[in-house]
């Protein structure tokens, strides 16, 4: 039998303490400031779990019901707090179950450190039990990864993992540790990781470029800011707001930039992209200057690139050099951290007030309110719309809640209509579009921000992809409000089938279980709402309830999300119906 030599009781380590690799993992995590992690045990990671047993007062390890739940929870935690999310899994299937979340974190620039157990180093490459080449598998979707085969490598590898995950453009990092390295003892010595010559997290500011950008902004007649998560990741929210206010710049957001600027700000002109608002999409192709800040011109934002903002000059403020010119040609590229760049730009832009130009946005917005939004909020149909549920939540939460959404129609509705007054309040899977993200991410967000209301808005399809995490929510006693927008369809795919595949509803109809009975099984208070007059009370009861609550709302089965930019069309070809 393999057993760990426990140092008994735990003494504070000094510079020459001899410890096992497993204990070194835990000690290094604590030194990196970790007090919460998510994971699932198994053979190859057991020594680390054994070590964690002695550190329960220092690290709260949350046992999820699936490794995918663990990593999405770590993502939710990271997005809500700005800290590095940490998760732990065993080798083989444990490690491969993390991959979807790692890919999600990579494309959405979320700082995550994954630690996986691996078979003993002598067995590597032999198809040992639960062996998988997770370093190879995760390579395309990690910012960095590393396999540890000697205990002495552990402190440096983990310190380096944290440094890489959180610096520059954040991302996921994976450290794979063979079981023998976890057992091996060595003289523990931890040192924070400071820098490496092959990695430049943030490039030196080029003040000439900032001058050029400022000149363009000062002479623009119809400038438009498009901002993304870079504003949040660099904690630039305050200077961003001061900057746009001084230069009088209408500002539109990507769904990952959402909540960086409060919803009711007079310069907030709404959501970009496929299901975004009418005005910013339309006017992207009329502005004379496009100022992109911490965003990467995703295809869902740009529509047809050949028809995207061709009339405008483009300033791209970006931390990652490989993003510059990747999708949209840039006139002035400002490489750097958004906060630093905006501080410098703020000093150089002149006070402006583009009232007439802003009025253009408001005029088109009015058109969208009349043709789309009013019908969504105050429908004449008997069935409920997703938007009136979000509208109902807004009225009670007053923009203070963290809204976590899954993927699909309800996600677009949640992003379009949720109101926010604080940053880091919209958590959703943007780039990867991972169904099943929401429920575990909401748990992670709540554990990271226990004093904030966390509302998980999920479709009936995505809910069933990680429904098992209700068990984790129950076990942790976390207070999460779960809103299921149930249309008994995979709604977004059905919408596309209706519009582009001649209503051939191939495999999109769901025969669902009784979610009320499921909630009961997990001892969750719940309610099902089928009519409009129950809605306001239902939302109120949910928000007033002390503890988790599942509110299932039956919504129109074949409702569509509009406006919409059809695939291959220009942003300005956005359709209101």
């Amino acid at each position: 039998m393999e057993t760990l030599l426990k140092s008994n009781p735990l003494e504070k380590l000094n510079s020459t303490s001899v410890v096992s690799g497993a204990r070194a993992v835990v000690e290094t995590l604590i030194a990196e400031g970790v007090d919460l992690m998510f994971g699932y045990p198994g053979g190859a990671i057991m020594p680390v779990y054994d070590a964690l047993y002695d550190y329960q007062s220092e690290i709260n390890h949350v046992l999820t019901r699936h490794e995918q739940g663990a990593i999405h929870a770590a993502q939710g935690y990271a997005r809500a707090t700005g800290n590095v999310g940490v998760c732990l899994a065993t080798s083989g299937p444990g490690a491969t179950n993390l991959i979807t979340g790692i890919a999600d974190a990579q494309i959405d620039s979320t700082p995550i450190v994954c630690i996986t157990g691996q078979v003993a180093s002598a067995l590597l490459g032999t198809d040992a039990f639960q062996e998988t080449d997770v370093v190879g598998i995760s390579m395309p979707v990690t910012k960095w990864n590393f396999q540890v085969t000697k205990a002495a490598e552990i402190p440096r590898a983990i310190a380096k993992a944290f440094y890489i995950a959180k610096s520059g453009r954040p991302g996921p990092v994976l450290i794979d540790i063979t079981k023998d390295a976890q057992f091996e003892t060595f003289e523990f010595h931890y040192k924070p990781f400071k820098s490496m010559r092959s990695y430049v997290p943030i490039y030196k500011l080029n003040l000439n470029r900032i001058e050029e950008a400022a000149n363009l902004i000062n002479s623009a007649k119809k400038p438009l800011v498009v901002f993304g998560q870079g504003v949040i990741l660099s904690e630039a929210e305050e200077v961003f707001k001061t900057f746009i206010e001084k230069a009088g710049l209408p500002s539109a957001w990507t769904i990952l930039g959402l909540s960086a600027l409060e919803s009711d700000h007079h310069l907030n002109v709404g959501m970009l992209g496929m299901h975004g608002n009418y005005a910013p999409n339309k006017l992207t192709n009329e502005c004379d200057l496009l100022i992109a800040i911490g965003m990467r011109f995703d295809d869902r934002v740009t529509g047809n690139l050949d028809l995207y903002a061709k009339q405008a000059q483009v300033i791209h403020i970006e931390i990652d050099p490989s993003e510059i010119g990747k999708n949209v040609p840039t006139d002035v590229a400002v490489l750097g951290d958004a906060k630093q760049v905006l501080h410098e730009l703020l000093l150089r832009v002149e006070k402006r007030n583009h009232q007439d130009w802003l009025k253009e946005f408001r005029r088109l917005e009015k058109l969208e309110v009349e043709t789309v939004i009013n019908k969504e909020f105050y429908p004449t149909t008997e069935t409920l719309t997703m938007a009136e549920v979000i509208h109902g939540i807004n009225q009670k939460s007053e923009g203070k809640a963290i809204i976590v959404s899954d993927v699909g129609q309800h996600q677009m509705i949640a992003c379009r209509y949720s109101k926010f007054s604080e940053s880091r309040s919209n958590i959703t899977s943007g780039g990867l579009g991972t169904m099943g993200f929401c429920l575990p991410a909401a748990l992670g967000a709540k554990l990271g921000q226990p004093n904030r209301e966390v509302i998980a808005v999920i479709g009936d399809g995505g809910f069933q992809m990680t429904i098992q995490e209700l068990g984790t929510i129950f076990q942790t006693g976390a207070n999460i409000k779960i809103v299921i927008l149930n249309n008994e369809f995979l709604g977004m795919v059905r919408q596309w089938q209706e519009l582009f595949f001649d209503k051939r509803y191939a495999s999109t109809q769901l025969v669902n279980p009784d979610f009320q009975t499921i909630a009961k099984g997990y001892h969750l208070k719940s309610k099902k709402i089928q009519t409009r007059d129950e809605l306001a009370n239902g939302v109120e009861e949910m928000l007033n309830h002390d503890g988790s609550y599942l509110l299932e709302v039956m919504v129109g089965k074949e409702n569509n999300v509009f406006p919409m930019i059809p695939t291959g069309a220009a942003v300005s070809d956005i359709r209101l119906k």
Partner: protein, 180 residues
Amino acid sequence: MMEKRRYTISVFTEDRVGLLNRVTIIFTRRKINIDSITASVSEIKGVHRYTIVVQESKELVKKVTAQIEKQVEVLKAFFHEDQEIIHQEIGLYKLPTQSLFLGGKAEEIVREHHARILSIESDFTVVEKTGHPCETTALFNALSPYGILEFVRSGSVAITKPMKTLAKYLEELEKEIELN
């Protein structure tokens, strides 16, 4: 669509297990075929260099090079067109030794092509030709009638014409990092 050309990408890296895989994945993602790839040491201890040759548009090569350079542990990545580099490949040819004697012109061909004979055994002879792919191919075609038993060509290696040294780039990188 821009015109496809031969580009040589030079990647300078730390000496790390798996890094070559991380770099080649960037080509795989975009379904770019790598014509040739070599990995070797460089003039600086601990710094490795990969020489990767592809046929692609300049625009795409530029984006791919930026994505390579973004990888942690990649120090620098450059791309060059043929006129900006001196590049060479080695071709090795195995021929039946008797074909050199049986009245043919094999030996003459070897001399004309400035190739050299590396080894003569009783049953086979190995010829080496260093040059551009067109030159090693020309020799292949010329020797074909004599029955080539085996042929192999190395990946391209290249030295760039610009005079800025790797040491200078590393110095600049370290300055960037100090600022963080």
